[in-house]
Symmetry: none
Subunit: 187 residues, 2 copies
């Protein structure tokens, strides 16, 4: 999981050139000869440690804008970082955790068809909140995509104009929603 985590590099501040990762193995050659100090944020070990702590120990999964600001301000002491980096970190971390679980459960659920829904522990706290099998056929919600443009036989007629009350028209037409059988886990 965690591989590549060294290279602390530039704490903001100038240090022109450097190019960060330049070094790398193989000696020389590497470098992209152009500064271009890495395009993406490279978290330092401390930053990751703190982020993990917030995630696992504090139960923070989707920090609010305020939290993100505070967090990034704190992490900035350990290296360059922006709010978006924190935002993405949590987004990705959560998503991948869920994704991983989904894949794992996916297999097991194939073996155990009936999974009584029951009440899921709706707590936002437990990091293990995603219990149960999600399985969620993610492709089913989009199977109803009309040919919108051309080619699908139906031309541009889209009459979703019908004076909808106040919501998005295109949300009604088809029965999309989440998988009926699969239990959507709370968040």
């Amino acid at each position: 999981m965690e591989h590549h985590q060294y290279q602390q590099q530039q704490h903001e501040e100038s240090n022109t050139s450097s190019t960060v990762v330049g070094g790398s193995v193989g000696g020389s050659k590497s470098s992209f000869l152009c500064r271009q100090s890495s395009t993406r944020w490279i978290p330092t070990a401390d930053q990751i440690r703190i982020l993990r702590d917030l995630y696992y120990n504090m139960g923070i999964r989707s920090p609010t804008a305020d939290q993100i600001q505070k967090i990034s301000a704190t992490l900035r002491k350990y290296g360059k970082i922006e709010g978006k980096n924190v935002f993405y970190w949590f987004q990705n971390h959560k998503a991948r955790e869920r994704q991983k679980k989904r894949l794992t459960v996916d297999i097991s659920s194939l073996l155990t068809p009936c999974s009584s829904p029951g009440l899921y522990g709706v707590g936002p706290m437990g990091s293990s909140c995603c219990g149960g099998s999600m399985l969620m056929e993610r492709s089913f919600r989009e199977c109803c995509l009309s040919g919108g443009g051309n080619g699908s036989g139906m031309e541009s007629s889209m009459g979703w104009v019908g004076l909808e009350s106040a919501a998005t028209p295109w949300m009604h037409p088809y029965p999309l929603k989440h998988e009926p059988g699969a239990l959507m886990v709370s968040r």
Copy 2:
């Protein structure tokens, strides 16, 4: 935002066979072996260009149902697209622009108590009638739902100067006021 923009598969030649089949993507042959998932709209470069033009130059931010219809009709010439795609595009674009600001908030505001008298000289001014025949009728959604307020027909005057965040949203931080919340990250 500027990356990954290949794979245009609009070809409307109604060619039989596979079509679509997601994935592809340059480089990685990843191959998902099945699931023609990529059902989601993949804007073409032209569509994006036009959308951005409407957003930044025309000042359109929350197009009405009629505008959406016209826009999607226009964009359809450049690739498959549906009304909802346009709707979501504007929603997301606007939301992200705002979010960027919110998370960006960095130091600049903390360091500069009060300065930069009047920036924002440059308004979106455009919108003086959306080019063409689009009438500026405020959408029912805005009026009835959410206290959108401004039903005057003029867009909210935010000052995105010419920056065109077209490239990377949060790449450019700019002054934004935000109270330095002191609350500890909690949940």
